[in-house]
């Protein structure tokens, strides 16, 4: 019963296959990491409760999706009603970085959010634990290009994480929660006040007024 006043946030994790979406989630929720790669089929759901700003209880309902093309048809159900979207790439895989824009577009098309420009996204570059020479050459510059330069770019907070070693994972999800919460509060403030509706009176038409049948 205590869960009622907690805010519930739906978080979607998107990105190419193999960038470590499931690992990030596992690390965040269960503090576990597996070396074995097992592709996600369809989607995976995990829940984690965190406290932000010292007193706000937030339940994150994390929807981990399959990055593989063949599961992309899962469609609207995944995206609908999301509070925040996490775009993931692999710091050793340039293609996954370049695909971020199309993941974002896919999300906006499917989720049909009201104000796409305000919707909270964050970007996570995973696998920073690998050797420097395996990483994408001049990563920062390329990332810069993607986030700021392109038209309608991905001007969102970027986190570099290691799901394997648990680096920065918690911090990233904390920011996710904060952004989603902010958006939620903004929505509430934006006149979504429905209290008036409780006053909907029903117009009852009584055929004969009581005064007429008092005879």
């Amino acid at each position: 019963m205590s869960g009622r006043k907690k805010t519930l946030l739906k978080v979607i994790i998107l990105g190419d296959s193999g960038v470590g979406k499931t690992s990030l989630m596992q690390q965040f929720v269960n503090s576990k990491f597996s070396h074995q790669y097992k592709a996600t089929i369809g989607a995976d759901f995990l829940t984690k409760e965190i406290t932000i700003d010292n007193n706000k209880q937030v339940s994150l309902q994390i929807w981990d999706t399959a990055g593989q093309e063949r599961f992309q048809s899962l469609g609207v159900a995944f995206y609908r009603g999301a509070d925040c979207c996490v775009l993931c790439y692999d710091v050793t895989n340039e293609k996954s970085l370049n695909n971020l824009t199309s993941w974002k577009d896919e999300f906006l098309v499917q989720s049909n959010v009201t104000n796409p420009q305000d919707f909270p996204f964050i970007i996570i570059g995973n696998k920073i634990d690998v050797d420097e020479n395996k990483k994408i050459p001049s990563l920062q510059k390329k990332l810069q290009n993607i986030t700021s330069n392109q038209l309608g770019g991905l001007n969102y907070p970027v986190f570099e994480t290691s799901a394997k070693e648990g680096v920065n994972v918690e911090a990233a999800f904390e920011v996710i929660a904060k952004m989603a919460l902010q958006q939620e509060e903004l929505n509430d403030a934006n006149g979504h006040d429905v209290s008036d509706d409780y006053n909907d009176a029903i117009n009852i038409h009584l055929e004969s007024e009581p005064s007429n049948c008092a005879c």
Binding site: Q61, G75, V76, E184, H205, P210
Partner: protein
């Protein structure tokens, strides 16, 4: 009886194991046409009979070719308890002139004794065939003198019991009792689940399990449901996993409601169990089945769908449709829990428990005298939202109706409304004057201008005594049930001083707005010096205007005053309430050997049943669960149609309108006979229905077949005679 032994070899379902069974998807287009369930050939009428020995799932067909009536099939002695009690209560009190008139109102030609005997004979023949067949296949049960109370609900295989638990409470705690913990194993043990979540997959409610546990399931279920809709363009309705598990979903965009059940009586699909049976010389039987609920009941998911609709209606009743929709508009991520209160969640918990098991949510489930309002609710739901009335004389009911009507026509001087707001009841009553005497004063105003519906009901079990409605509006039974349920849950049962004012949306009346419900309890016992204890009554006044609280309060004061002012009237009412609060077959109808019955009048969709204490001498969880099971089986089993002697008469005379009305009650006559046999105990169930009524009863199996029929017919006749006392009908109209 070798029922236990038969278990292994019978067609019983394999052990429950989800992984072994192949999930079947039952997809039906949103239009819900149960085409696949219709009999293969319309032109060849068959009578389907289901003579299952339900406890072991064996299905038997009757061979009618060489059967002769055998009236004394069960030669065992009648229970001694029954016969002694019957003599004790054998004498009926003489009836008054008034009562006599009420009774004779209902005597028409179709109920004359002659008809009844032939009717009786026909039933005798049919049922004895059924019973004779049973006996030829079962070991003698003659030594059966055991009290039913010694049997346990666990003996009947109502619920899956893989670890063979024999303790009733232990089983309840593990599989039935609701638990909100984060324990996955506990969660999966539960036989019944309800989920409500948004289309985005955010959980709103779950019967069992903590949030953390439920969130994943909400995600998975949403995904399945909406993937299905997107890709195949069909609404998913149910998923059947093997024989023991069913998932049913309804989509009420932006909400999705899901139920998962492994309760045997909720998974019943008689289309599977039916055995076709050809009745000789039955070539010209009319098979056009106009019985609406029959075709509906063919839909095997209907039980669970109805339950989900009841939950959805509850949400509508407290929020209304526009409020739900507007909250989700432009933001599918909305968390509906933000506008629900903990009382709402408690109420939904209680609803789920009532819908599934007819049990209250209580810590004292081991109590042998449980509150039976949950069972009442279950039966009401089972009988297509039939409403339960309370037996009072027609005179008293008419008197109460008149009081409600008079309260609607109350007038006050305009300025008096404000001055009486703070006044005491006694002080203000004298200032009332009903409008009947003429109305010349211009300052006068109708107090009840906004009053739409008035109800008088008993407080504890919400049985309706009196009902007033406008000419061109009425409340559906679903709305009434919802209303009574909400009132029941918000009433503090002992507080007679509080006045409740509840904004409530009644979805069938109008899902888009609110009505305002004034609720007040009257403790009739307070008005007796002699210390008579009478169950309290509840006044329910439904207004269309949210600012009319004080007017409704005045009206309720007037109603109370009118009820108590005449001592003789009050005495009569109290006496009748005392007499009928615990309806007894033996005492009130003078019929021994039938332990429990339900009679439903189809015309007004209201029902009456006797106190369930007579079934097992208690009101325990064990008895409740057995009754829930027996009645579910009787109701959901496809009945045998009786080819009535009068049926052919009817067919011949359909062209002449004069004849149709007199024989109409013999249309669609059908019966179901069921027997649950245990090693040392058994129960007989019997259902008889036609266009006018549905009758269900339970008895010890040692009852003789002719007694079963005679006594059933006697109860039915009693109910027909007492229609006006048993049912409030369509209420009084202003």
């Amino acid at each position: 009886m070798s029922s236990q032994g038969n278990d292994t070899s019978s067609a019983n379902a394999p052990p429950h194991d989800d992984r072994e069974s192949i999930p079947r998807l039952l997809i039906t287009p949103p239009s819900l046409t149960p085409t696949s369930i219709l009999p293969p050939s319309i032109s060849q009428p068959t009578l389907a009979v289901n003579l299952e020995n339900v406890s072991n799932g064996i299905i038997k067909a009757i061979d009618y070719s060489n059967s002769t009536p055998d009236q004394l099939l069960s030669s065992g002695p009648k229970l001694s308890v029954v016969s002694s009690e019957s003599s004790e209560y054998g004498v009926r009190s003489p009836i008054s002139q008034e009562e006599y008139e009420n009774l004779t109102d209902h005597f028409t030609d179709e109920y004359d004794d002659n008809d009844n005997t032939e009717d009786n004979e026909e039933l005798q023949n049919l049922i004895s065939d059924i019973i004779r067949y049973e006996h030829s296949h079962s070991i003698n049960l003659d030594h059966n003198n055991k009290l039913m109370s010694e049997s346990s609900y666990l003996d009947f295989n109502i619920f899956p019991n893989h670890d063979s638990i024999t303790d009733e409470l232990e089983y309840y705690n593990k599989y039935i009792k609701l638990s909100k913990t984060n324990n996955e194993e506990e969660f999966h043990d539960k036989l019944k689940h309800f989920f409500i979540f948004s289309m985005a997959g955010k959980p709103i409610y779950s019967f069992n399990g903590a949030d953390e546990l439920v969130m994943g399931y909400a995600g998975i279920l949403t995904t399945i449901i909406s993937t299905f809709e997107e890709n195949i363009n069909e609404e998913i309705k149910s998923i059947t996993v093997g024989d023991n598990l069913k998932i049913v979903a309804i989509n009420r965009n932006p909400l999705v409601l899901v139920s998962i059940s492994s309760i045997s009586y909720e998974l019943m699909s008689f289309s599977k169990n039916d055995v076709g049976l050809e009745i000789p010389d039955d070539t010209e039987q009319e098979i056009k089945d106009t019985d609406n609920d029959h075709t509906l009941r063919n839909n095997q998911d209907l039980i669970l769908i109805n339950q989900l609709n009841t939950l959805y209606n509850y949400l509508l009743s407290i929020l209304s449709k526009p409020v739900i929709e507007k909250n989700f508009m432009n933001r599918m991520n909305y968390d509906l829990r933000r506008i629900l209160t903990s009382l709402d969640f408690d109420n939904i918990d209680a609803l789920c428990m009532r819908l599934s098991y007819g049990l209250p949510i209580t810590e004292e489930i081991e109590n042998n005298l449980l509150d039976t309002s949950s069972f009442d609710f279950f039966i009401s739901e089972l009988l297509d939202s039939s409403i339960q009335s309370i037996k009072i004389t027609n005179t008293t009911r008419t008197r109460l109706n008149k009081i409600l009507l008079a309260s609607k026509k109350l007038k006050v001087k305009q300025q008096q409304i404000s001055s009486t707001e703070t006044g005491s009841t006694a002080g203000t009553i004298s200032s009332y004057f009903p409008s009947v005497g003429g109305s010349t004063l211009v300052e006068e105003k109708f107090l009840g201008d906004d009053l739409l519906f008035s109800l008088l009901a008993t407080s504890h079990n919400n049985k309706i005594l009196s009902y007033m409605k406008p000419k061109n509006h009425s409340l559906s039974n679903d709305d009434l049930k919802l209303l009574l349920n909400v009132i029941h849950s918000s009433q503090n049962s002992l507080d007679y001083t509080e006045d409740l004012w509840i904004p409530l949306c009644l979805p069938n009346f109008n899902p888009n707005g609110f009505l305002y419900v004034f609720v007040k309890q009257i403790n009739l016992s307070d008005y007796f010096k002699s210390g008579i204890v009478v169950q309290p009554l509840t006044i329910i006044l439904i207004s269309s205007n949210k600012n009319s609280f004080y007017q409704m309060q005045e009206i309720s004061n007037y109603i109370i005053y009118m009820i108590i002012k005449d001592e003789a009237v009050l005495n009569t009412l109290a006496q009748e309430l005392i007499n009928s609060s615990r309806l007894s077959i033996i005492k009130d109808i003078n019929v021994p050997s039938i332990k429990h019955f339900i009679y439903k009048s189809k015309k007004c969709n209201q029902f009456i049943m006797n106190d369930l204490i007579h079934f097992n001498n208690d009101r325990s969880m064990n008895s409740l669960l057995q009754l829930v099971y027996f009645y579910s089986v009787l109701h959901n089993t496809k009945a045998v149609k009786i080819k009535s002697r009068l049926k052919s008469t009817y067919n011949q005379s359909t062209s002449s309108n004069n004849q149709t009305s007199s024989s109409s009650s013999f249309q669609n006559k059908k019966l179901t006979y069921a027997k649950w046999t245990l090693q040392d105990n058994s129960v007989t169930g019997f259902m008889l229905a036609d266009n006018e009524y549905e009758f269900y009863c339970l008895s010890n199996s040692s009852i003789k077949s002719n007694d079963l029929i005679n006594h059933s017919l006697k109860i039915i006749k009693w109910c027909e005679k007492n229609q006006k006392r048993l049912f409030f009908g369509s209420g009084v109209v202003f």
